[in-house]
Amino acid sequence: MDINIIENTENPQSDESEYEEIAHTAAEVLQLMEEAWLNEKFAPEILPHKYDIVECLLGQVSHVEENLSNVHNDDLRRSLHQMELDRLRYLVSSYLRLRLEKIERFVYFILKQEEERSQKGEENYLNDNELNFAKCYGQSLDQHFTDQLQFWPGNIPAEWKNQLIVPNIYSYVFMKAKNEIEGVMINHVNEEEEVVDLKTGSQILISYNNVGHLIRNNQSCLI
Protein backbone atom coordinates (compact mmCIF):
# COMPACT_ATOMS: atom_id res chain seq x y z
CA MET A 1 0.00 0.00 0.00
CA ASP A 2 1.14 3.47 -0.68
CA ILE A 3 1.87 5.02 2.68
CA ASN A 4 1.60 8.49 1.30
CA ILE A 5 -1.87 8.01 0.03
CA ILE A 6 -3.24 10.93 1.99
CA GLU A 7 -0.79 13.21 0.27
CA ASN A 8 -1.84 12.18 -3.19
CA THR A 9 -3.35 14.79 -5.39
CA GLU A 10 -6.79 14.36 -6.79
CA ASN A 11 -8.85 16.01 -9.50
CA PRO A 12 -5.91 16.94 -11.70
CA GLN A 13 -8.32 18.09 -14.39
CA SER A 14 -10.08 21.39 -13.72
CA ASP A 15 -9.37 24.88 -14.86
CA GLU A 16 -8.78 28.00 -12.88
CA SER A 17 -12.15 29.47 -13.63
CA GLU A 18 -13.79 32.21 -11.59
CA TYR A 19 -15.45 29.64 -9.42
CA GLU A 20 -12.91 28.04 -7.19
CA GLU A 21 -12.51 24.95 -9.28
CA ILE A 22 -8.81 24.79 -8.58
CA ALA A 23 -7.33 21.38 -7.97
CA HIS A 24 -6.41 20.88 -4.36
CA THR A 25 -4.09 18.33 -2.92
CA ALA A 26 -5.54 16.29 -0.10
CA ALA A 27 -3.43 18.22 2.38
CA GLU A 28 -4.92 21.47 1.14
CA VAL A 29 -8.41 20.07 1.40
CA LEU A 30 -7.68 19.11 4.97
CA GLN A 31 -6.47 22.59 5.71
CA LEU A 32 -9.56 24.14 4.16
CA MET A 33 -11.74 21.83 6.18
CA GLU A 34 -9.97 22.74 9.39
CA GLU A 35 -10.41 26.39 8.64
CA ALA A 36 -14.11 25.95 7.84
CA TRP A 37 -14.52 23.99 11.04
CA LEU A 38 -12.89 26.66 13.19
CA ASN A 39 -14.87 29.43 11.52
CA GLU A 40 -18.09 27.58 12.08
CA LYS A 41 -17.13 26.82 15.63
CA PHE A 42 -16.45 30.38 16.63
CA ALA A 43 -18.86 32.37 14.50
CA PRO A 44 -22.13 33.10 16.29
CA GLU A 45 -24.21 32.80 13.14
CA ILE A 46 -24.37 30.11 10.49
CA LEU A 47 -21.89 30.48 7.62
CA PRO A 48 -22.23 29.46 3.98
CA HIS A 49 -21.91 25.70 3.75
CA LYS A 50 -18.71 24.03 2.54
CA TYR A 51 -20.17 20.80 1.33
CA ASP A 52 -17.76 20.48 -1.56
CA ILE A 53 -14.90 20.19 0.92
CA VAL A 54 -16.82 17.85 3.19
CA GLU A 55 -17.68 15.53 0.35
CA CYS A 56 -14.15 15.60 -1.00
CA LEU A 57 -12.74 14.71 2.39
CA LEU A 58 -15.29 11.96 2.95
CA GLY A 59 -14.38 10.53 -0.41
CA GLN A 60 -10.74 10.46 0.66
CA VAL A 61 -11.62 8.81 3.94
CA SER A 62 -13.52 5.96 2.33
CA HIS A 63 -10.76 5.60 -0.25
CA VAL A 64 -8.09 5.19 2.41
CA GLU A 65 -10.38 2.92 4.39
CA GLU A 66 -10.70 0.68 1.38
CA ASN A 67 -6.94 0.50 1.02
CA LEU A 68 -6.54 -0.18 4.71
CA SER A 69 -8.79 -3.20 4.60
CA ASN A 70 -6.09 -4.95 2.55
CA VAL A 71 -3.44 -4.36 5.15
CA HIS A 72 -2.85 -6.93 7.83
CA ASN A 73 -4.19 -6.18 11.28
CA ASP A 74 -0.84 -6.18 13.02
CA ASP A 75 0.81 -3.83 10.59
CA LEU A 76 1.98 -0.65 12.27
CA ARG A 77 0.96 1.39 9.28
CA ARG A 78 -2.60 0.30 9.77
CA SER A 79 -2.97 1.73 13.23
CA LEU A 80 -1.24 4.93 12.18
CA HIS A 81 -3.61 5.43 9.29
CA GLN A 82 -6.59 4.37 11.35
CA MET A 83 -5.78 7.05 13.88
CA GLU A 84 -5.52 9.64 11.15
CA LEU A 85 -8.84 8.50 9.73
CA ASP A 86 -10.51 8.81 13.10
CA ARG A 87 -9.22 12.34 13.37
CA LEU A 88 -10.55 13.22 9.95
CA ARG A 89 -13.89 11.69 10.73
CA TYR A 90 -14.09 13.65 13.93
CA LEU A 91 -13.29 16.83 12.06
CA VAL A 92 -16.04 16.33 9.51
CA SER A 93 -18.71 15.16 11.89
CA SER A 94 -17.92 17.88 14.38
CA TYR A 95 -18.27 20.47 11.62
CA LEU A 96 -21.62 19.08 10.55
CA ARG A 97 -22.78 18.78 14.14
CA LEU A 98 -21.95 22.41 14.84
CA ARG A 99 -24.01 23.45 11.85
CA LEU A 100 -26.93 21.29 12.90
CA GLU A 101 -26.84 22.76 16.36
CA LYS A 102 -26.99 26.28 14.98
CA ILE A 103 -29.76 25.32 12.60
CA GLU A 104 -31.81 23.91 15.44
CA ARG A 105 -31.24 26.80 17.76
CA PHE A 106 -32.02 29.55 15.27
CA VAL A 107 -34.32 27.53 13.06
CA TYR A 108 -36.99 30.15 12.31
CA PHE A 109 -34.46 32.91 11.85
CA ILE A 110 -32.36 30.84 9.46
CA LEU A 111 -35.36 29.71 7.45
CA LYS A 112 -36.47 33.30 7.10
CA GLN A 113 -33.02 34.39 5.97
CA GLU A 114 -32.76 31.55 3.49
CA GLU A 115 -36.08 32.49 2.01
CA GLU A 116 -34.98 36.08 1.60
CA ARG A 117 -31.79 34.89 -0.02
CA SER A 118 -33.51 32.69 -2.54
CA GLN A 119 -35.94 35.50 -3.35
CA LYS A 120 -33.03 37.80 -4.06
CA GLY A 121 -31.41 35.05 -6.09
CA GLU A 122 -28.42 34.83 -3.77
CA GLU A 123 -26.71 31.60 -2.96
CA ASN A 124 -28.17 29.75 0.02
CA TYR A 125 -26.05 29.25 3.10
CA LEU A 126 -27.61 25.88 3.77
CA ASN A 127 -27.14 22.84 1.66
CA ASP A 128 -30.36 21.22 0.35
CA ASN A 129 -30.28 18.45 2.91
CA GLU A 130 -29.75 20.88 5.72
CA LEU A 131 -32.57 23.02 4.43
CA ASN A 132 -34.88 20.01 4.43
CA PHE A 133 -33.83 19.22 7.95
CA ALA A 134 -34.42 22.80 9.05
CA LYS A 135 -37.89 22.83 7.53
CA CYS A 136 -38.83 19.53 9.16
CA TYR A 137 -37.49 20.72 12.48
CA GLY A 138 -39.37 24.00 12.29
CA GLN A 139 -42.59 22.23 11.44
CA SER A 140 -42.20 19.74 14.25
CA LEU A 141 -41.73 22.57 16.76
CA ASP A 142 -44.78 24.36 15.37
CA GLN A 143 -46.81 21.21 15.66
CA HIS A 144 -45.67 20.54 19.19
CA PHE A 145 -46.48 24.04 20.42
CA THR A 146 -49.86 24.06 18.71
CA ASP A 147 -50.64 20.72 20.34
CA GLN A 148 -49.75 22.13 23.74
CA LEU A 149 -52.06 25.12 23.27
CA GLN A 150 -55.11 23.10 22.24
CA PHE A 151 -56.81 24.04 25.50
CA TRP A 152 -56.86 27.72 24.50
CA PRO A 153 -60.36 29.10 24.16
CA GLY A 154 -60.80 30.67 20.74
CA ASN A 155 -57.93 31.17 18.36
CA ILE A 156 -54.60 29.71 19.34
CA PRO A 157 -52.16 32.58 19.75
CA ALA A 158 -49.29 32.65 17.28
CA GLU A 159 -47.45 35.77 18.40
CA TRP A 160 -44.58 33.68 19.65
CA LYS A 161 -43.66 33.04 16.04
CA ASN A 162 -42.67 36.68 15.70
CA GLN A 163 -40.20 36.42 18.55
CA LEU A 164 -37.34 34.75 16.76
CA ILE A 165 -34.28 33.46 18.51
CA VAL A 166 -31.47 35.26 16.73
CA PRO A 167 -27.73 34.72 17.00
CA ASN A 168 -25.82 37.33 18.94
CA ILE A 169 -23.69 38.80 16.21
CA TYR A 170 -22.17 41.29 18.62
CA SER A 171 -20.23 38.63 20.45
CA TYR A 172 -16.45 38.95 20.38
CA VAL A 173 -14.27 36.70 18.29
CA PHE A 174 -10.55 36.24 17.70
CA MET A 175 -9.82 36.85 14.06
CA LYS A 176 -6.77 36.43 11.90
CA ALA A 177 -6.40 38.29 8.62
CA LYS A 178 -5.38 36.16 5.67
CA ASN A 179 -4.42 39.06 3.42
CA GLU A 180 -4.05 42.79 3.70
CA ILE A 181 -7.40 44.27 4.62
CA GLU A 182 -7.88 47.98 4.62
CA GLY A 183 -10.61 49.99 6.19
CA VAL A 184 -12.36 47.69 8.62
CA MET A 185 -15.04 49.81 10.23
CA ILE A 186 -15.49 49.33 13.94
CA ASN A 187 -18.72 50.66 15.39
CA HIS A 188 -18.52 51.69 18.99
CA VAL A 189 -21.45 51.73 21.34
CA ASN A 190 -21.56 55.51 21.38
CA GLU A 191 -22.08 55.75 17.62
CA GLU A 192 -18.43 56.53 16.98
CA GLU A 193 -16.66 54.80 14.16
CA GLU A 194 -13.09 53.78 13.87
CA VAL A 195 -11.22 52.47 10.86
CA VAL A 196 -8.54 49.82 11.21
CA ASP A 197 -6.18 48.39 8.63
CA LEU A 198 -5.13 44.80 9.08
CA LYS A 199 -1.84 43.32 7.92
CA THR A 200 -1.54 39.79 6.64
CA GLY A 201 -1.47 37.38 9.52
CA SER A 202 -2.35 39.92 12.18
CA GLN A 203 -4.77 38.93 14.88
CA ILE A 204 -7.45 40.97 16.49
CA LEU A 205 -10.19 40.57 19.09
CA ILE A 206 -13.23 42.19 17.62
CA SER A 207 -17.00 42.18 17.67
CA TYR A 208 -18.31 39.74 15.08
CA ASN A 209 -20.73 42.16 13.41
CA ASN A 210 -17.80 44.23 12.12
CA VAL A 211 -16.01 41.37 10.44
CA GLY A 212 -18.71 38.86 9.51
CA HIS A 213 -18.39 39.71 5.81
CA LEU A 214 -14.62 39.15 5.91
CA ILE A 215 -15.13 35.64 7.21
CA ARG A 216 -17.79 34.88 4.64
CA ASN A 217 -15.73 36.07 1.69
CA ASN A 218 -12.71 34.19 2.96
CA GLN A 219 -10.39 37.14 3.61
CA SER A 220 -9.85 36.16 7.19
CA CYS A 221 -10.53 33.32 9.55
CA LEU A 222 -11.46 32.85 13.16
CA ILE A 223 -9.07 31.30 15.63
Binding site: S93, S94, L141, W152, P153, W160
Partner: protein
Protein backbone atom coordinates in the same frame (compact mmCIF):
# COMPACT_ATOMS: atom_id res chain seq x y z
CA UNK B 1 -51.45 34.87 43.10
CA UNK B 2 -51.77 34.81 39.34
CA UNK B 3 -48.75 33.65 37.42
CA UNK B 4 -47.23 31.81 40.33
CA UNK B 5 -47.82 28.34 38.92
CA UNK B 6 -46.32 29.25 35.57
CA UNK B 7 -43.29 30.65 37.35
CA UNK B 8 -42.88 27.45 39.34
CA UNK B 9 -42.71 25.53 36.05
CA UNK B 10 -39.75 27.63 35.01
CA UNK B 11 -38.13 27.20 38.41
CA UNK B 12 -38.54 23.47 38.03
CA UNK B 13 -36.71 23.63 34.69
CA UNK B 14 -33.95 25.66 36.24
CA UNK B 15 -33.49 23.22 39.11
CA UNK B 16 -33.23 20.25 36.76
CA UNK B 17 -30.82 21.53 34.18
CA UNK B 18 -29.62 18.77 31.88
CA UNK B 19 -32.12 16.23 33.10
CA UNK B 20 -35.75 15.65 32.32
CA UNK B 21 -38.14 15.71 35.30
CA UNK B 22 -41.59 14.10 34.92
CA UNK B 23 -43.98 16.01 32.70
CA UNK B 24 -45.79 18.22 35.18
CA UNK B 25 -49.39 17.58 34.18
CA UNK B 26 -50.80 18.87 37.42
CA UNK B 27 -49.31 22.36 37.40
CA UNK B 28 -49.72 22.66 33.64
CA UNK B 29 -53.42 21.95 34.13
CA UNK B 30 -53.58 24.68 36.78
CA UNK B 31 -51.90 27.19 34.48
CA UNK B 32 -54.22 26.29 31.63
CA UNK B 33 -57.22 26.71 33.92
CA UNK B 34 -55.91 30.07 35.05
CA UNK B 35 -55.52 31.26 31.48
CA UNK B 36 -59.02 30.11 30.48
CA UNK B 37 -60.46 31.73 33.58
CA UNK B 38 -58.76 35.04 32.88
CA UNK B 39 -59.84 35.05 29.26
CA UNK B 40 -63.42 34.43 30.27
CA UNK B 41 -63.30 37.24 32.80
CA UNK B 42 -61.87 39.58 30.22
CA UNK B 43 -64.58 38.72 27.78
CA UNK B 44 -67.21 39.26 30.43
CA UNK B 45 -65.75 42.66 31.33
CA UNK B 46 -65.53 43.57 27.71
CA UNK B 47 -69.20 42.77 27.32
CA UNK B 48 -70.05 44.82 30.43
CA UNK B 49 -68.10 47.76 29.13
CA UNK B 50 -70.08 47.69 25.90
CA UNK B 51 -73.33 47.49 27.83
CA UNK B 52 -72.31 50.37 30.07
CA UNK B 53 -71.35 52.58 27.20
CA UNK B 54 -74.76 52.01 25.67
CA UNK B 55 -76.54 52.94 28.88
CA UNK B 56 -74.21 55.85 29.41
CA UNK B 57 -72.57 54.80 32.67
CA UNK B 58 -68.82 55.17 32.59
CA UNK B 59 -66.99 52.49 34.54
CA UNK B 60 -63.45 52.10 33.31
CA UNK B 61 -62.46 48.48 32.79
CA UNK B 62 -59.28 49.14 30.85
CA UNK B 63 -56.89 48.70 33.74
CA UNK B 64 -58.28 45.35 34.86
CA UNK B 65 -58.46 44.00 31.34
CA UNK B 66 -54.91 45.05 30.61
CA UNK B 67 -53.60 43.53 33.80
CA UNK B 68 -55.31 40.24 33.03
CA UNK B 69 -53.98 40.34 29.52
CA UNK B 70 -50.47 40.82 30.80
CA UNK B 71 -50.87 37.81 33.08
CA UNK B 72 -52.17 35.72 30.19
CA UNK B 73 -49.20 36.66 28.04
CA UNK B 74 -46.80 35.88 30.82
CA UNK B 75 -48.38 32.51 31.45
CA UNK B 76 -48.28 31.74 27.77
CA UNK B 77 -44.65 32.59 27.62
CA UNK B 78 -43.82 30.40 30.57
CA UNK B 79 -45.79 27.52 29.06
CA UNK B 80 -43.95 27.75 25.77
CA UNK B 81 -40.59 28.14 27.49
CA UNK B 82 -41.33 25.05 29.55
CA UNK B 83 -42.15 22.97 26.51
CA UNK B 84 -39.35 24.35 24.39
CA UNK B 85 -36.68 23.68 26.96
CA UNK B 86 -37.92 20.17 27.50
CA UNK B 87 -37.60 19.58 23.79
CA UNK B 88 -34.04 20.92 23.80
CA UNK B 89 -33.21 18.54 26.59
CA UNK B 90 -34.86 15.67 24.75
CA UNK B 91 -32.86 16.57 21.69
CA UNK B 92 -29.61 16.32 23.67
CA UNK B 93 -30.72 12.91 24.84
CA UNK B 94 -31.24 11.79 21.27
CA UNK B 95 -27.55 12.46 20.76
CA UNK B 96 -26.56 10.74 23.96
CA UNK B 97 -28.72 7.64 23.95
CA UNK B 98 -29.59 7.12 20.31
CA UNK B 99 -33.08 6.62 18.99
CA UNK B 100 -34.20 4.37 21.84
CA UNK B 101 -34.62 6.11 25.17
CA UNK B 102 -34.05 4.36 28.50
CA UNK B 103 -37.41 3.44 30.06
CA UNK B 104 -37.00 5.72 33.09
CA UNK B 105 -36.73 8.75 30.83
CA UNK B 106 -39.52 7.58 28.60
CA UNK B 107 -41.81 7.48 31.61
CA UNK B 108 -41.25 11.21 32.16
CA UNK B 109 -42.44 12.28 28.74
CA UNK B 110 -45.85 13.43 27.65
CA UNK B 111 -47.57 11.78 24.73
CA UNK B 112 -46.82 14.61 22.35
CA UNK B 113 -43.18 14.73 23.44
CA UNK B 114 -42.81 11.05 22.60
CA UNK B 115 -44.21 11.83 19.17
CA UNK B 116 -41.82 14.70 18.73
CA UNK B 117 -38.90 12.54 19.74
CA UNK B 118 -39.61 9.92 17.11
CA UNK B 119 -40.11 12.65 14.52
CA UNK B 120 -36.79 14.21 15.47
CA UNK B 121 -35.05 10.86 15.35
CA UNK B 122 -36.32 10.15 11.88
CA UNK B 123 -35.40 13.58 10.47
CA UNK B 124 -31.95 13.32 11.95
CA UNK B 125 -31.55 9.88 10.44
CA UNK B 126 -32.70 11.16 7.06
CA UNK B 127 -30.21 13.97 7.25
CA UNK B 128 -27.32 11.76 8.30
CA UNK B 129 -28.07 9.33 5.49
CA UNK B 130 -27.96 12.14 2.96
CA UNK B 131 -24.38 13.27 3.71
CA UNK B 132 -21.70 12.20 1.32
CA UNK B 133 -21.99 9.76 -1.53
CA UNK B 134 -21.98 6.41 0.14
CA UNK B 135 -24.68 5.88 2.66
CA UNK B 136 -24.15 8.88 4.91
CA UNK B 137 -22.18 9.57 8.04
CA UNK B 138 -23.15 8.71 11.56
CA UNK B 139 -22.72 12.01 13.37
CA UNK B 140 -23.57 10.59 16.77
CA UNK B 141 -20.25 8.80 17.08
CA UNK B 142 -16.88 10.59 17.29
CA UNK B 143 -18.30 13.08 19.76
CA UNK B 144 -14.89 13.78 21.28
CA UNK B 145 -11.62 14.34 19.50
CA UNK B 146 -9.78 11.02 19.34
CA UNK B 147 -6.66 10.78 21.46
CA UNK B 148 -5.70 7.16 21.05
CA UNK B 149 -6.84 4.31 18.91
CA UNK B 150 -7.35 1.93 21.81
CA UNK B 151 -8.69 2.76 25.21
CA UNK B 152 -8.87 0.90 28.45
CA UNK B 153 -12.34 0.24 29.75
CA UNK B 154 -13.84 -1.49 32.72
CA UNK B 155 -16.97 -3.51 32.21
CA UNK B 156 -19.68 -2.71 34.74
CA UNK B 157 -22.25 -5.39 33.92
CA UNK B 158 -22.30 -8.96 32.65
CA UNK B 159 -22.95 -8.11 29.04
CA UNK B 160 -22.19 -11.43 27.39
CA UNK B 161 -20.72 -11.77 23.94
CA UNK B 162 -20.06 -8.70 21.89
CA UNK B 163 -19.06 -8.71 18.27
CA UNK B 164 -16.46 -6.21 17.12
CA UNK B 165 -16.64 -4.67 13.69
CA UNK B 166 -13.85 -6.94 12.38
CA UNK B 167 -15.92 -9.98 13.32
CA UNK B 168 -14.05 -11.18 16.39
CA UNK B 169 -16.07 -11.95 19.51
CA UNK B 170 -15.30 -10.68 22.98
CA UNK B 171 -16.89 -11.99 26.15
CA UNK B 172 -17.71 -9.03 28.37
CA UNK B 173 -17.81 -9.85 32.06
CA UNK B 174 -18.46 -7.69 35.05
CA UNK B 175 -15.45 -5.85 36.54
CA UNK B 176 -13.07 -7.12 33.89
CA UNK B 177 -10.81 -4.70 32.11
CA UNK B 178 -10.51 -4.57 28.35
CA UNK B 179 -8.30 -2.83 25.86
CA UNK B 180 -10.47 -2.16 22.83
CA UNK B 181 -10.68 0.17 19.83
CA UNK B 182 -12.18 3.47 20.91
CA UNK B 183 -14.82 3.52 18.19
CA UNK B 184 -16.21 0.20 19.37
CA UNK B 185 -16.50 1.33 22.96
CA UNK B 186 -18.13 4.71 22.56
CA UNK B 187 -21.64 3.37 22.33
CA UNK B 188 -21.24 0.97 25.22
CA UNK B 189 -19.73 3.67 27.41
CA UNK B 190 -22.75 5.85 26.79
CA UNK B 191 -25.06 2.98 27.59
CA UNK B 192 -23.30 2.51 30.88
CA UNK B 193 -21.87 -0.92 30.09
CA UNK B 194 -18.30 0.30 30.12
CA UNK B 195 -16.46 2.79 32.22
CA UNK B 196 -13.56 4.56 30.59
CA UNK B 197 -10.43 4.27 32.67
CA UNK B 198 -8.37 7.42 32.42
CA UNK B 199 -4.84 7.12 33.67
Amino acid sequence: MFGENACSLIRELDRNRGSLPPYNNEILGEVEKEICHLIQQNEADDFEAHEDSRVGEAVDYTATIRTRHAIIQRNLRCLLAYHYNRLRCLRTMRWEFGSILPPDIKANLSHSETNWFSKYSSMLATYMRSIGDDGGVNLTIDLNPPKALYIEVKCLVDYGQYELSDGSLVLLKESNRYFLPRAECEDLIRQGVFQHIVN
